[in-house]
């Protein structure tokens, strides 16, 4: 019956699957999630031309698009043979309202097999573009942590965004009396959303930026009608630093001095940064950033801040990290600005404005 209902709502059979899992069956849950997240590769039909692909960016910085370009050697054949890019504001000139800007009032994106969206959803235009992408693309990929978890712009979810946006037009360099613009520009939503809070997403690829190798892997898996091989572990699980036990560490240091290491020796000779007393989000963060063995911040001898988002599906990096600290006898109150542990995953309701002190009603 659920299946029929879903079909009534316009979800073709190919686009969903239903499996019953009880709460006591974690393994079955994992395998069900894996099989459900099959990116609908069977939807792709073979043809002489490349696979039609549309790219869009919402509340974003273009770092994800640069990560695509950083695929390197495989980039040229990807762009010229394997994919047929029909829409991509950063690279090509397809327009929403016809090429002369005089066709219709509703934005149009061409149909495509694959849709790739970066950025979170924070204004009405983002929402309109995203809904159009969902409508026109068979397989929708959310690329980068903004799209998958809100990313840095979702830090705004931790405060009263309406008054904050107003205050941006009241800085000391801004003309006195200026007001937040409200003509032509799209209205802001109440907060920044991850893409899957607004439309169904077939595949998520987090990271700030995402790893070019994973972007290439996902595309090649789609083209080859197979499952993509993506990391499932935590940053810690993949970190080569030496662990010797936490020793006498009971508080967390701010990163205002360099960590201890011998520059002549590899990262595997450096002691774990948590054990050195620094806040490092490795235990609760999804792996995937490593490109030369070690996680990329660790490679620069800098602690992790969690840019791939939570390693647990629907996890909360702040609560999980506090738990990890507390269970190791470390005083979590020594963490300055605990909310910024959610700096990459503030969507999905994780970050909310602090409640103001209750005002007594007379």
């Amino acid at each position: 019956m659920i299946a029929e209902l879903l079909e009534d709502y316009g979800y073709e059979q190919e686009r969903f699957a239903i499996t019953w899992v009880s709460s006591a069956e974690p393994d079955r849950f994992v395998s069900a999630v894996r099989s459900h997240s099959r990116p609908g590769s069977s939807l792709i039909e073979e043809g002489d031309m490349g696979v039609t692909t549309a790219l869009e960016w919402l509340s974003s910085c273009s770092g994800c698009e640069i990560a695509i370009l950083n695929i390197g050697e495989g980039l040229v054949p990807l762009l010229t043979e394997h994919l047929d890019i029909v829409h991509a504001p950063v690279l090509m000139d397809h327009k929403y309202f016809g090429q002369c800007g005089d066709e219709g009032l509703h934005l149009q994106i061409p149909e495509a097999v694959v849709g790739i969206v970066s950025g979170g959803v924070s204004n009405e235009e983002h929402l309109e573009v995203l809904e159009e992408m969902r409508k026109k693309c068979k397989v929708l990929i959310a690329l980068g942590s903004c799209a998958t978890q809100g990313g840095i712009p979702a830090l705004m979810n931790g405060q009263d965004s309406a008054s904050s946006f107003d205050e941006i037009y009241q800085t000391p360099s801004t003309d006195k009396g200026a007001k937040r613009p409200d003509e032509i520009v799209p209205a802001l939503l109440d907060r920044t959303y991850a893409v899957d809070e607004k439309v169904k997403v077939d595949l998520t690829l987090p990271g700030c930026p995402p790893n070019p190798a994973h972007i290439a892997e996902v595309i090649s898996a789609l083209l080859g009608d197979r499952e993509p091989e993506l990391p499932t572990k935590s940053v810690c699980d993949t970190c080569p630093t030496k662990r010797e036990g936490k020793g006498s560490v009971t508080t967390v240091k701010r990163y205002t001095e360099n960590v201890e290491f011998d520059p002549e020796k590899p990262v595997s000779e450096m002691r774990c940064l948590l054990e050195q007393g620094y806040m490092c989000m490795g235990p609760v963060t999804a792996a995937g950033c490593a490109r030369r063995g070690a996680p990329s911040c660790i490679d620069a001898r800098v602690p992790c801040r969690g840019c791939f988002g939570s390693v647990m599906p629907k996890g909360n990096q702040m609560l999980d990290m506090m738990n990890a600290l507390a269970s190791n006898g470390i005083d979590f109150k020594s963490v300055v600005d605990r909310r910024s542990m959610l700096r990459f995953s503030g969507a999905h309701g994780n970050l909310r404005p602090k409640r103001r002190a209750a005002v007594k009603e007379e």
């Binding site: 690279l91 002369c100 360099s173 701010r254 001095e257 620069a300």
Partner: protein, 450 residues
């Protein structure tokens, strides 16, 4: 009845913009705007964050120029905490920032702008892009893709991350450079320097000489300029120096970054989220009037070349001399931004080599002692898109109390609006327009690389 053309999205730029061209009953341009469509709020959501964390948050303002936000922010936090980076820490930051300019320029000129010139402004939209360039000029394209990748991987290998870097830190840098790393970077930069000269020659031959008539007309406006110059001799600088604000007649004032509020203001119009900086110190107010603009100056490549007295590296200096010989100082033609961009590419390669050859670059004293506390710091660097200003105040705990940012692109929002209006007005006559004409209007924006 008149109508409005919505060129949206403006494409092959870094960001979200829309051009609205208002036509009157006769089909002539009554007005034209370029509106920035996105607002994220970095100034507000970094409030309360520990200041030493901010350089790795604000880099997300821009995924193409994250290094410049990263270094400007670190300089601002140095100021807040009253710390002077060690000489090596300071130079490593400059090195990485200058290296980041290299692939930015390759990206903009060849991936975003070149399709208009290689395939022609009127080519159909479906081929007028980097994929079209790859098909039309495969050898050039494969070289370009390789060089950009090389530039990105140099950053990535040494600093852990090319996009959204973490290795510059308050007080200096997170790790020293090994001799082997220095040698490898030197070798790779030499390759890029050779390419940069090839790129400049290629563009002089195939773009600038071929499109001289378009350059002389498209989007041309008359404004002042803002950039950074060396404190001692007025040479071109992108990491550290004094700000120079030049009027259209070539006269200028120099000022220190922390005094920017006396010289620059920001004007707001209701039709775009981007604020429009203007020269407050000229005391003439703000106007985008094409014949008599008020307070309008430009930033980014052409501006930097106009304000500097000379380039400090030999090959870039030779290119600047040739440029000035041809176009004067200050040069005003908007499409010359592309020419200036390629001269900066040569400089960035030469300067990278200079910094790598500096004896102290492999010193291990890379980070000064830092104590978080209350203070104010203004960090300014030259981002690819213009002078980038980060101004922070911290509380006693060293957390951000307030922040004011003026990012590179915004300096040019006013001028881009003027160039759009100039281009649209001169190209659209009596209701006659097509996709090629509207693309030329966009080319006036693209030159600014917003």
């Amino acid at each position: 009845m008149g109508k409005v053309l919505h060129i949206q999205p403006v494409t092959r730029i870094e960001g979200h913009a829309r051009i609205s061209v208002h036509l009157n009953d006769e089909g002539n341009v009554e007005d034209a705007y370029m509106s920035l469509m996105s607002l994220r709020g970095f100034e507000k959501f970094i409030e309360g964050r520990p200041a030493e964390e901010v350089p790795r948050i604000v880099n997300r303002i821009c995924g193409i120029c994250p290094w410049m936000h990263h270094t400007a922010s670190n300089k601002a936090v140095d100021g807040c905490f009253g710390v002077t980076p060690t000489p090596t820490g300071h130079k490593l930051r400059e090195l990485l920032q200058v290296m980041a300019h290299i692939n930015d320029k390759i990206l903009h000129f060849f991936f975003l702008a070149a399709p208009d010139f290689v395939l022609g402004p009127d080519a159909d939209y479906s081929v007028r892009n980097v994929i079209g360039v790859v098909k039309a000029a495969p050898e050039l394209a494969s070289q370009v893709v390789k060089m950009r990748q090389l530039g990105q991987m140099m950053l990535d290998r040494f600093a852990g991350k090319a996009i959204h870097p973490i290795a510059a830190v308050v007080g200096g840098f997170s790790k020293p450079m090994l001799e082997a790393e220095r040698q490898e970077l030197l070798k790779d930069t030499q390759t890029l320097l050779d390419f940069s000269q090839y790129a400049l020659d290629y563009a002089k031959k195939n773009v600038f000489s071929k499109y001289m008539d378009v350059i002389g007309e498209l989007g041309v406006i008359t404004t002042g300029f803002l950039g950074t110059v060396d404190r001692e001799d007025g040479s071109f600088r992108i990491y550290d120096g004094r700000q120079r604000l030049m009027k259209a007649d070539g006269s200028y004032v120099d000022f220190e970054a922390e005094d920017y509020l006396e010289y620059l203001g920001e004007h707001v119009e209701p039709w775009g989220y981007g604020k429009m900086p203007y020269a407050k110190s000229w005391d003439e107010g703000f106007s985008l009037d094409l014949d008599a603009p008020k307070g309008i100056y430009r930033a980014n490549t052409l501006a930097r070349l106009n304000v500097c007295d000379q380039m400090s590296t030999p090959k870039a200096q030779a290119a600047l001399e040739e440029f000035r010989e041809a176009f004067g100082r200050p040069a005003q033609a908007t499409l010359l931004y592309h020419y200036a961009r390629l001269i900066e590419l040569v400089y960035a390669c030469e300067r990278t080599i200079e910094l790598l050859e500096w004896d102290g670059i492999t010193d291990t004293d890379v980070r000064a002692k830092v104590t978080p506390g209350a203070g104010r710091g203004v960090g300014v660097v030259e981002a690819p898109r213009g002078t980038l200003i980060h101004d922070y105040s911290t509380d006693a705990n060293g957390c951000i109390e307030s922040a004011n940012l003026i990012v590179g692109t915004t300096h040019n929002i006013g001028p881009m609006n003027m160039s759009v209006k100039q281009a649209a007005t001169s190209l659209i006559k009596d209701g006659a327009y097509d996709q090629g004409i509207l693309n030329k209007v966009e080319m006036a924006v693209r030159a600014y690389d917003p």
